[in-house]
């Protein structure tokens, strides 16, 4: 019997386990068995990866940065979703809120997601820093710390930030482009009332991370199986719709520079240690 590869995943909702059940069955049918190990937060998962309790980790972008920091850059990203590439975060304001340019945010309040959300907190704050606005000095941040530890996987923090903007408690809100599009389409957002003030440069989101020492042939074999998952195949589509992708792609690491800078500038992990 082939020893299954151990794949780590953070579960923010019990239904996420359905995705992994389908992936597990798919890999078994392809003759490349995996076993999923679930974690309640990314910190535990990164520790498990670094300590080799698991072979592969489905990492958030922040968990990737963390894993790289803890291993001295000795990790590889072997696969990611098509939708993980070139994401952007919008800074959204009310049309009648009196914020016409980024500089108008001086003295005002930005609603963000959870403290550890790359897309809804760390990256927009870094974007504003690069634009000359420093959080706490030039503007206030009203965080919405839902399910901290899950790196903003849960959309609740961004939704709370949106409500804060709509209610007038905040003057701007940060949200992932995919959420902006979804909420405009389903009526959650009235595009006549809100508008995009500014957007971050593109960044990448999750990836499957392995340690550099993980055998390259096993990583290649595993990735090849993953890439055989086809959206056109109805048996695969349920999982791909749940996970929000149309295709699995090779991993790349070029899209994490801004987040790495954000983590360094904010002293994120140093603060976490304290």
């Amino acid at each position: 019997m082939i020893k299954p590869l151990l794949v780590g995943a953070v579960i923010y909702d019990p239904k996420v386990s359905i995705i992994w059940d389908i992936i597990t069955s798919f890999f078994a049918a392809e003759g490349c068995p995996i076993d999923c190990v679930y974690y309640t937060n990314y910190e535990l998962q990164v520790t498990a990866l670094v300590e080799r309790h698991i072979d592969i980790a489905w990492n958030s972008p922040l968990a990737w940065v963390d894993a790289q920091a803890r291993t001295g850059g000795r990790c590889r990203a072997i696969a990611m979703r098509d939708t993980d590439r070139d994401r952007i975060t919008h800074i959204v304001v009310r049309g009648d809120g009196g914020v016409a340019a980024l500089t108008d945010l001086r003295g005002r309040t930005l609603a963000s997601g959870a403290i550890d959300s790359p897309q809804a907190t760390l990256l927009p704050i870094e974007h504003l820093r690069r634009s000359g606005l420093v959080a706490g000095r030039d503007y206030n941040v009203r965080r919405h710390d839902l399910l901290v530890g899950k790196h903003g996987d849960h959309v609740g923090g961004e939704r709370e930030a949106l409500r804060s903007l709509e209610s007038g408690t905040s003057d701007a809100a940060a949200m992932l482009d995919l959420n902006w599009e979804t909420w405009c389409a389903d009526g959650t957002i009235n595009p006549g009332r809100l508008r995009i003030l500014s957007s971050t440069p593109p960044f990448d989101h999750c990836n499957f991370t392995v340690l550099e020492s993980f055998p390259a042939d096993r990583a290649a074999e595993w990735s090849d199986v993953l890439f055989r998952m086809q959206y056109q195949n109805p048996a695969h589509r349920e999982m791909m719709d749940l996970e929000g992708l149309k295709a699995w792609l090779p991993g790349r690491t070029s899209g994490y520079t801004a987040l790495t800078d954000a983590v360094r500038e904010s002293g994120f992990f140093e603060r976490a240690v304290q």
Binding site: P14, V37, Y38
Partner: protein, 150 residues
């Protein structure tokens, strides 16, 4: 205390990751422990447990009503079960709590023209005599409201 009466049940693994339960001359399939999917071929063990409680109470109330000469047109019970922490059932590392039932709540709808006090009394007798209710209510908060529909 009376002499023990045993209720023998045999459970076998079958194909398709099912468990088949044999009880006297009947059998039924258990699809999983606690399914989160929209649909499955068979109910999960958790659903059977909640269903067994409801079935116990429906049968029990019917018997109690007959014994007291109460005419019931219809009995329907809607129940929701909640586990203490389903993530522990999934084996999520770092989660706390347990995968057992924390609460079961719902409503028993009784169609009857009988006096409500009489129905209440029959319902209480049903709860007192229910093996499932008397088991589950000792380990979880079981709250079932009674609503008489005229």
């Amino acid at each position: 205390m009376s002499e023990d009466h045993l209720f023998p049940v045999r459970i076998q693994r079958t194909t398709g990751r099912l468990a088949r339960v044999y009880a006297r001359a009947q059998s039924f399939d258990v699809g999983s422990q606690a399914s989160l999917r929209e649909s499955d071929h068979s109910p999960s063990a958790v659903e059977y447990a909640i269903g067994a409680l409801g079935g116990d109470l429906v049968c029990g109330l019917e018997r109690a009503a007959e014994g007291q000469g109460i005419l019931l047109h219809a009995i329907e019970i809607a129940l929701n079960g909640r586990l203490d922490n389903i993530l522990t059932h999934l084996g999520v590392v770092g989660e706390e709590g347990h995968p057992g039932f924390a609460a079961i709540d719902g409503t028993a709808y009784i169609g009857s023209e009988a006096d409500e006090t009489v129905i209440q009394r029959a319902w209480q007798r049903t709860l007192d005599r229910s093996p499932l209710y008397q088991t589950l209510s000792r380990v979880a908060v079981v709250t079932i409201a009674l609503r008489v529909v005229r």
